[in-house]
Structure formats: structure tokens, C-alpha cells
């Protein structure tokens, strides 16, 4: 049963590691803005190289438009 010491040691090290990662991410400002990234991730390469290629696309996000 000596292995229990090892197991506990490993589990605590992992747990502490996660705590440190969490605190670091808070410090880095990851939780400061909870809204913008959710919109940002929906953008992809919408930059238009040529005007003639432009077709009316469906409206991707229109929850704000008809309030």
C-alpha cells in the first residue's frame, strides 16, 4: 500500500498545477471580457480580395439588428 503515498503526491501536484494555471489565466486577463471572443471566433476570412466576387451572403449574426 506504499503506492498510496505516490498516488497522493501525484494527485496533489496535478491539482496544484491546475490551480496555478487558473490563477495565471486570470492574471493574463482571460476572464476580463467574456463576450467579445464569442463573437470573434465566428469571423473568418471575410476580407474581400475583389469587389466583383462579392455576393450577398446570408446574415450571419442578426440578433442585434431587429430589436
Amino acid at each position: 500500500m506504499i503506492v498510496i503515498y505516490l498516488m497522493i503526491a501525484v494527485s496533489i501536484v496535478i491539482a496544484v498545477l491546475f490551480l496555478i494555471i487558473f490563477i495565471k489565466s486570470v492574471k493574463a486577463g482571460q476572464y476580463d471580457d467574456m463576450y467579445t471572443p464569442s463573437v470573434r471566433m465566428l469571423f473568418d476570412d471575410e476580407l474581400l480580395e475583389d469587389k466583383t466576387l462579392r455576393k450577398p451572403k446570408s446574415v450571419i449574426l442578426n440578433k442585434n439588428s431587429k430589436k
Binding site: 503515498y5 496533489i12 476572464y31 471580457d33 471575410e46 439588428s65
Partner: protein, 788 residues
């Protein structure tokens, strides 16, 4: 959307003046933005949202002061000579298209390296290369696409303050320790003796101890500090028994470990701290896009244009303006100091200050007060007083603004905890004496058990959760409180004071009355056509008021700034404007009017009246039952009679109050022992709002600005004010009921403690159970009450 609406901003196109391909625009500004975006591969802007744009404002010359390096340096967050970082507050940001275009600024100008948006705070952070683009050009660039940043004195002053994240770290550590300690305590819950415990007890208990140390030292730090302060001020606040409980839990458990006596309470200890901090987080609801601490600095510009003796224009910081300086105020700029108008047509909008939406015209030689916004062209003025000494801004040197936060204000919980602390100390003492004679070995055990079980966890949690939940409910109904303590303050109110202009009146729809001989339809048509091309705000208002008509050609149109307009329609001359311009006899009353004469004959005048908010009489009638009501206005008594008829009897009226008078008036009421609620809107109410026990600022648009206050109420919800006040009172009742509940738990626990039977498992069950049930109770009841 109809075909006729502007492709950029969605407004009515008004004909087909501005068109590109099949898209029409309402104005040249919108068309330009479209062109800029389309040329720079950013046309997708219009795909995310329909008509996402805002009309860019005219900014020519407005930001010249950013070329002044000293001023620019104050705004920059970072500058290493090559690259700079700057953050702006851009109020016009409102949709996902805005985020997209603002994050792709680098496509518009190669000097911009990166830009990122924080949407909840409406902030944009831009990194740019100094050699390719200047700060001024950056501002002009984002203004040109309709996102004019708001730069105020405050930005230069406060600099780079960071939000406080300590509470998050504290709760993270407490939660982490709580989970682990709970796990390590499990063997002890279910087994008194045996192989398992004998073998691993030492290790497990040592680990629990290690986890608990940071919880006591770091996470619970604030409670120790607050309890220390309380004792120092001879005030036994709720934190005193909490700290007592925490210390006893920790010391007793440590002693038991060291001497290997048995029972440890680290699980209850970490759990207690974790729950307490959770309550704190819950109570802390911040509206990141609202600010409750604004003073005049957030309205005033950083710099203005000074005209030197040699006639040269130069940007100076507002704080460096001296008496006798000559300033140039451009269109749409704010007047930062008191002064005398020297040159130009002043049309000043004091809506920030007084809430009065109709601009005031001034002639040269008239005195101008700080805080007004110039609306028609550029003016020159001589400075009479520096910023701090100006009529409006000296208000902020009053003591009301130096009021120390809320230490010393007794809240419900602290009042109660005074008795509570004495009672548990008495119980601990008598139990100790009893066991001293019955069984000396158990004295320490019993006394510490009493202090542990008496730790008012549920008591300390019920108020934060009830108040925090109410705060959220209010927030959803557009009544935003600065903090949860505000609810308690609002519940104590017995006197409600209202400002008049802008608070009980609305500046959205002024109603206009025509006085004089009735105009024919044809004449009304003529008037409407005449003012069509005038940009004067009053004329725009009148234009919206008059019925729609066909377009008729106006010849010989002439607009004389500051006086009026004239023109000829169907060979009849039309003249509109001030009394002297039209040759009409003026009335003595201080009113906003446009006189009109047609064919050389004075026909009458249009009177602009503020209209009162909908439901005003209902609000006052409901409130008059429970509160003393007062109208405190900076205006003259012109509308007193009308108001007396409209509002319930017993309402007091006080007119002609200067901003400082309002403050003094409230102070006087408070000295009479009243608890005063002030409802105001403009900067002139700022002193009164700060002095009052609870200040509510009414705001037509919560995204824009409101003076420092305890709460912001969306103007559309004005009629719900009595209900909000009633809810604050009910919240206090709910908290009191929850106290009874938590005392019951304390009594049950006390039984175990006094009889010397308190084991870790009972503490571990009782403590979370009482806390959670109290939290569930208050959350449920507050939700129920507010739904009614």
C-alpha cells in the same frame, strides 16, 4: 428594411441624393464610410448585421491637440518610441459588425499593427507604429468610419488603473483547498478507528493542515482586517464572530494535530471561508459599461484651442488655462471654463448640466458657463475663471465628494452582530464554567465547540445573497445599482427629492404649442418648407412637429445666425426667429419661442415646452403615501402652478436653486433627521446626488453619461420607481426572516456544542446545510416577491 433606408446606418434616405450602385445613403458621411470600407476589402461589414453603421460626425480640427506630445503621452498606455498602444472608449460600438471592422483596422492603414475590442466595456485597444501613423491620425481614422472615441480629462488623469482580481484568487484558493480537504477528511467521517486511519491519519491530517494555511492567511485576510478595524472603532461588526470562529477552528485543529488528539475541523474551516467568499462574489455585480463615479472630468475635454496674442492657435491642456486667456471653441465642443463670449454666434446646449434640451443663444458680451456644448459654428471667448474655480466645477471641492466610503454606516447585519457576539461569548463562558466543575478535561473542547458552531456563516451569507439577487433583478429591469449596500440605504428613505428639468420632464419629445392667430394649412406648409434647410436645433424640432407637406420652392432664403431665417414662398415673405428679428413684442416670461411673421404681419409664436414623463402623476401619487416629496429645481417658478395641479397635495416646491444650493438644501433636510433620496440627471445635480443618502440618476441612454450616483435608472422605467423602492423594503424584511432561520440552526448546533458532542462530521453537515438552505430561501423569496 425598406429600400429607402440607408445601407450604412438604416436611417431614411430622404430621396436619392447619395447613391452607389443599388445602395442608397442618408448622407455624405455614410456614403464615405461605405466607400472607405469597400476599398479596403472590409465590405463584409454589412453582412454581419443589417445597416450596422453610425453616421460619422464632423471632426475637422477637433483633435489637433493630440499633436501636442505632452497630451498625447498621457493617453498612451505604452510607448517605446517605435510602437505605441492606446485604449479608447467608443460609445457608438453596438453590434458584431462593429467588432469585426474595429478588429480589422490594420486593413485600413498599414501603420496599425493590431486592434482588439472589449465589447462589454466598449473599449478598443490599438497598437500602432509611431513612424507610420500619429495618434491624431488614428483617432481621425476611427472617427471617419463612425466610431468616434470619447476622450475626456479623466483619461489623462487617472491613467492606468487595473481592476482588482484579489477576490478571484482568494476564492480560487479557498475552493481548491475546500475540495481537497473534504476528500482527505472522508476516512474520518466514516471510521472511528481501524487500520486505515492508524496508518494514514498523520499524512492526511498534515496535508489538510497545509491546505488550510493559505486559506486562513490569504483567503480570509479581509475578514481579519475588517474585524480588527471594527474592534478598533469599538464596533462589533459581523466579521468579529466570523474571525473568532475561523481562528478557533484553525487553532483547535492545529493543536489536535500536534498532540494527536483526534478530531480536526479543517473541512469546516475551508468550507466556511469558501462559502463566505462566494457570498461576496455574488454581491458584487458590476455593470462594466456603466460608471457610477463620474465627475466633471469625464465630460470635459483634455485640451482646447487657445488663441495667442499673435493670433496663433495652439492646443493647451484644460488645467493650464488661466484667467484672461482667449479660447476658440469649435462646433460641437464643450466649454470647459466660465468666460465671456467675444465673437461668433453662441448656441449653447446645457443638457449635460441642467437636463434642459433646448439650446440657449448668447450674444457677444454674455457670460458663458462651463459645461455647455457649442452647437453652431466656432466662437471665441475670454476666460474668467480657471477650471477648478468655475461655477460648475467648484461644486466638486465640496466635502460631499470627499465622503469616505461606507465605513461607519451601520447596516442591518452589523447592528445585529453586536448583540450576537455578546451572546455567544456569554454562552461560551457559562458553558466553560459549568464544565470546569463537571469535567475539567472537556472545558477547552466545549468552549471551542461553542465558538465554532456559533460562527455566523448563514447569517453572514443571507444578506449578500438577498441583496445580490435583488441587484440582478433590478439590473434586468434597467435599474442599475452601484452596489448591494444601496438597497439597504434605499429602504430607509423617507424623503424623495426630484430635480425638474430632465428628471420629471423628458427631453425626447418637447411639445410645441402655437400661440397667436391660427395658421392656414398653406401657411404651415410654407413654414415647414422654410425651415427645411435650417440646421438650428430649434428649427429641426419644429420641422419634426409640423405635419408632412409637399415641397415648395423657397426663394431668397437667408439664415442669419443667432437671429432667424427668412425667405419667400409664392411671393409671400416668411420670417422666423427671435422677437426682435420678427419685430414682435416680447413677453416677460422666460420661455423658448420662435416668432413667426408672414407677409409682414406677426402671426404668433411657437412655444417649446418640456413635456412631463408619462405616468408622472401616478408615480407621485403612489410615493406621496409613504414619502415626503419635494421638487428641487434650478429653473424659475414658471411652471409651479401647473405642477401644483398635476402633483398630489403636500408636495413641496423649491425653485431657483444653484447646484450648491441643492446640496445645502439636502444637507439641511438631513440635519432635520431625514433620510433623503435624490433623483436627478444633470451635472448640476451632482452635488445633491453625492450629498443625499441615496442618489438616483435618470438617464435617457445608459450608454452615455450620468453624474456620480448610487444608482442609474433608465428613463423608460421611471414609472416603476415606486415599485423599486417598495422592493428594497421587502428585501430587508426577507433578510430579517432569513436571520430567524439561521438562528434556528445555531440553536441546534449549540446543543451539540454545549453537551460536548460536537464531532467533525456534525460540523461538516450542519455548516453547509444551514448556509445552503438560507441561500436557497432568500433567493427563492426575493425572486417571488419581485415577480409580483
Amino acid at each position: 428594411m425598406s429600400e429607402e433606408s440607408c445601407y450604412h446606418c438604416g436611417l431614411d434616405c430622404q430621396g436619392k441624393q447619395y447613391q452607389i450602385e443599388d445602395k442608397c445613403f442618408c448622407c455624405n458621411g455614410c456614403k464615405t464610410v461605405y466607400e472607405i470600407l469597400n476599398q479596403n476589402e472590409l465590405g463584409c461589414y454589412y453582412d454581419f448585421d443589417q445597416n450596422p453603421g453610425t453616421i460619422p460626425t464632423e471632426i475637422k480640427g477637433k483633435y489637433n491637440y493630440l499633436d501636442n506630445l505632452e497630451i498625447a503621452e498621457k493617453l498612451l498606455e505604452f510607448n517605446d518610441g517605435e510602437t505605441s498602444v492606446v485604449s479608447f472608449y467608443t460609445p457608438s460600438m453596438h453590434c458584431s459588425s462593429c467588432i469585426w471592422v474595429l478588429e480589422n483596422l490594420s486593413k485600413l492603414h498599414s501603420g496599425i499593427v493590431a486592434s482588439s475590442v472589449n465589447f462589454p466595456q466598449k473599449k478598443i485597444r490599438i497598437t500602432f507604429k509611431n513612424e507610420k501613423i500619429s495618434l491624431k491620425s488614428v483617432v481621425e481614422l476611427i472617427s471617419s468610419i463612425g466610431y468616434e472615441p470619447f476622450i475626456s480629462l479623466e483619461d489623462a488623469d487617472s491613467g492606468k488603473h487595473k481592476s482588482n482580481k484579489t477576490l478571484i484568487y482568494q476564492i480560487a484558493i479557498a475552493g481548491f483547498a475546500f475540495g481537497n480537504v473534504m476528500l482527505l477528511s472522508f476516512p474520518e467521517y466514516f471510521q472511528d478507528d481501524g487500520f486505515w486511519l492508524d496508518k494514514y491519519k498523520g499524512l492526511f491530517r498534515f496535508l489538510m493542515f497545509v491546505f488550510s494555511v493559505p486559506v486562513v492567511v490569504y483567503s480570509a485576510k479581509d475578514y481579519f482586517i475588517s474585524a480588527y478595524k471594527g474592534v478598533k472603532h469599538k464596533m462589533l461588526n459581523i466579521d468579529v464572530p466570523i474571525v473568532l470562529g475561523i481562528s478557533v477552528l484553525f487553532i483547535r485543529s492545529t493543536i489536535e494535530i500536534v498532540f494527536d488528539l483526534g478530531q480536526v475541523f479543517f473541512d469546516s474551516l475551508t468550507g466556511l471561508v469558501f462559502f463566505l467568499l462566494l457570498g461576496r462574489v455574488f454581491q458584487q455585480r458590476t455593470y462594466s459599461y456603466l460608471s457610477f463615479e463620474r465627475d466633471y472630468k469625464s465630460y470635459f475635454p483634455i485640451a482646447v484651442t487657445k488663441i495667442g496674442n499673435d493670433g496663433k492657435e495652439e492646443s493647451v491642456e484644460v488645467f493650464k488655462i488661466k484667467e484672461g486667456d482667449r479660447l476658440l471653441i469649435r462646433n460641437e465642443e464643450l466649454i470647459p471654463v466660465d468666460g465671456i463670449l467675444i465673437n461668433g454666434n453662441a448656441n449653447i446646449d446645457y443638457s449635460f448640466v441642467t437636463g434642459e434640451s433646448v439650446p440657449v443663444s448668447k450674444k457677444s458680451g454674455d457670460k458663458l458657463f462651463a459645461g455647455g456644448k457649442q452647437l453652431s459654428g466656432a466662437i471665441e471667448m475670454d476666460v474668467l475663471q480657471s477650471v477648478q474655480q468655475s461655477y460648475l466645477t467648484q461644486l466638486w471641492s465640496n466635502d460631499a465628494f470627499k465622503k469616505d466610503s461606507n465605513f461607519g454606516i451601520k447596516n442591518l447585519v452589523d447592528t445585529l452582530s453586536k448583540y450576537f457576539t455578546y451572546i455567544i461569548l456569554a454562552i461560551a463562558l457559562s458553558a466553560g464554567i459549568y464544565w470546569f466543575f463537571a469535567d475539567k478535561l472537556l472545558v477547552f473542547h466545549v468552549v471551542s465547540s461553542v465558538l465554532i458552531i456559533a460562527c455566523p456563516c448563514a447569517l453572514a451569507l443571507s444578506a449578500p445573497f438577498a441583496l445580490g439577487n435583488m441587484l440582478r433583478i433590478f439590473g434586468r429591469r434597467k435599474f442599475y445599482l452601484k452596489n448591494a449596500e444601496g438597497i439597504e440605504l434605499a429602504a430607509k428613505i423617507d424623503t424623495v427629492i426630484f430635480d425638474k428639468t430632465g428628471t420629471i420632464t423628458t427631453n425626447k419629445n418637447n411639445h410645441i404649442i402655437f400661440e397667436g392667430s391660427q395658421l392656414t394649412t398653406e401657411e404651415e406648409q410654407g413654414v415647414r418648407n422654410l425651415i427645411r434647410s435650417s440646421n438650428h436645433p430649434l428649427n429641426r424640432m419644429l420641422y419634426g412637429f409640423l405635419p408632412l407637406s409637399k415641397e415648395v420652392e423657397v426663394i431668397n432664403f437667408k439664415e442669419i445666425l443667432g437671429k432667424g431665417i427668412q425667405g419667400e414662398i409664392n411671393k409671400t415673405s416668411y420670417v422666423l426667429g427671435s422677437a426682435s428679428f420678427v419685430n414682435a413684442s416680447t413677453s416677460a416670461k422666460n420661455e423658448t419661442v420662435i416668432y413667426i411673421s408672414i407677409g409682414g404681419e406677426v402671426k404668433g409664436r411657437y412655444v417649446f415646452k418640456n413635456s412631463y414623463r408619462k405616468g408622472l402623476d401616478a408615480v407621485f401619487n403612489t410615493l406621496s403615501k409613504a414619502y415626503e416629496l419635494i421638487i428641487l429645481s434650478g429653473d424659475n417658478e414658471g411652471e409651479k402652478e401647473y405642477l401644483q395641479k398635476l402633483l398630489p397635495k403636500g408636495t413641496e416646491f423649491v425653485f431657483n436653486q444653484k447646484p450648491t444650493d441643492k446640496l445645502e438644501f439636502i444637507k439641511q433636510k438631513q440635519n432635520e433627521g431625514k433620510q433623503v433620496l435624490m433623483v436627478g440627471d444633470g451635472l448640476n445635480d451632482a452635488g445633491a446626488l453625492a450629498q443625499s443618502n441615496f442618489g438616483i440618476a435618470i438617464s435617457e441612454n445608459t450608454n452615455v453619461f450620468s453624474p456620480a450616483c448610487d444608482a442609474i435608472l433608465d428613463a423608460s422605467k421611471f414609472k416603476e420607481l415606486p415599485q423599486f423602492l417598495k422592493l428594497t423594503k421587502q428585501t430587508i424584511t426577507i433578510i430579517k426572516a432569513s436571520f430567524v432561520l439561521s438562528f434556528l440552526y445555531n440553536i441546534i448546533g449549540m446543543y451539540f456544542a454545549i453537551t460536548g458532542q460536537l464531532s467533525p462530521i456534525i460540523a461538516a453537515i450542519l455548516m453547509p446545510l444551514s448556509s445552503i438552505s438560507v441561500v436557497v430561501f432568500v433567493t427563492f423569496v426575493t425572486n417571488m416577491v419581485s415577480r409580483k
